[in-house]
């Protein structure tokens, strides 16, 4: 009799503790302020572990929406990618905790980091998995129809367009460094993602953007010296 009562009380207590814990977890997870996230992640022991678990849930809840344009959550590649991204994001968040300035929700900041990691990985995979044939198959393909082949353009318009393109091509050759020319051509010709182009050129995305930015300003200045503007050039191609 005593044993039976003891067992009942014990089960009751366990259930009570469990339900309290679940309530505590759902409340802390949904109502944690930025300060609470930071405090818990900087602490040790159970609060730290719980914060990490909650953050793992936050990341994994967001990734299907973040990646939906590129990868379905039904795809067999999805679960391992999510696991890899979650691990990497948690490590990076803990490492960069002091750089969070509180200008957004902490969870938005974390999603941002997860998205950067996930998209970088997806872009890398997409380009790595493209076969050599796929990358070179355009070599023997006929050139794209091109704007000069516009059947509605008059001979004068076609000649004018050809002349303008030649002028710009010459300016590109004269004004840009080989590295700037390579970057513009890679991105313009193959639509390679910025990160992949950067890797190909042994630099990083930000440095490549700066390189392109300088190139664009330089070209714009030179065009203006030749009394040309990008708008003039573009409008020449809009004429019928």
């Amino acid at each position: 009799m005593f044993f039976y009562s003891y067992q009942k009380v014990s089960i009751f207590c366990k259930n009570l503790i469990l339900s309290q814990l679940i309530t505590y977890n759902s409340v802390t997870m949904s109502t944690r302020t930025n300060e609470a996230w930071l405090a818990d992640l900087r602490s040790t022991g159970i609060p730290h572990e719980e914060a990490l678990n909650d953050l793992r849930d936050v990341i994994q809840k967001g990734l299907p929406y973040a990646l939906s344009r590129w990868l379905s959550s039904d795809d067999p590649l999805f679960p391992p990618l999510v696991e890899e991204v979650t691990q990497e994001t948690l490590l990076r968040v803990l490492d960069q905790l002091d750089t969070f300035e509180g200008r957004s929700l902490f969870t938005t900041w974390v999603h941002k980091i997860a998205i950067r990691i996930a998209l970088t990985e997806l872009r890398r995979k997409r380009w790595r998995d493209a076969s050599l044939d796929e990358l070179t198959e355009n070599e023997d393909a006929p050139p794209p129809p091109g704007l000069l082949a516009d059947p509605q353009a008059s001979p004068e318009t076609s000649a004018e367009r050809k002349d303008m393109l030649e002028r710009v091509r010459r300016i590109l050759q004269e004004e840009l460094t080989p590295k700037q020319r390579e970057a513009l051509t890679l991105l313009g010709l193959q639509d390679i993602p910025m990160e992949e182009a950067a890797k190909k050129m042994k630099t990083n995305r930000n440095a490549l953007y700066k390189l392109l930015h300088d190139a664009r300003l330089r070209l714009k200045k030179r065009l203006s010296m030749e009394e040309l503007t990008p708008q003039d050039l573009l409008s020449a191609f809009e004429q019928k």
Binding site: S104, L172, P193, L219
Partner: protein, 97 residues
């Protein structure tokens, strides 16, 4: 041996070199049209992306609040993809209150 030489040995023809076709030149002109001296970089964009997306999510006028960020998104595909992904996460996981 350089990759270019290896390619030439294996296939008996030079590695493909990107060339400035008319389409590439025109794309470059398109990009030039939007070039301005006070542009921000991808690192600047990333630093402010979370705050910027929250403004957008809450329906605030981001053109007025952060015009340079808005313009960067128009010309940088990589940053725009990250912006769209983050906005999608907020729209599907957060309340607007």
């Amino acid at each position: 041996m350089k990759l270019k030489d290896l390619f030439q040995n294996l296939f008996g023809k030079p590695a493909p070199q990107p060339e400035m076709t008319d389409e590439v030149v025109l794309k470059i002109i398109n990009i030039l049209e939007r070039a301005r001296a006070d542009e921000i970089t991808c690192d600047d964009m990333f630093m402010q992306l979370d705050e910027f997306v929250e403004h957008k999510f809450h329906g605030r006028d981001v053109e007025k609040i952060a015009p340079l960020l808005r313009e960067h998104l128009d010309i940088c595909n990589g940053c725009h993809e990250e912006y769209a992904a983050l906005l999608s996460v907020l729209e599907n996981t957060q309340n607007k209150n």
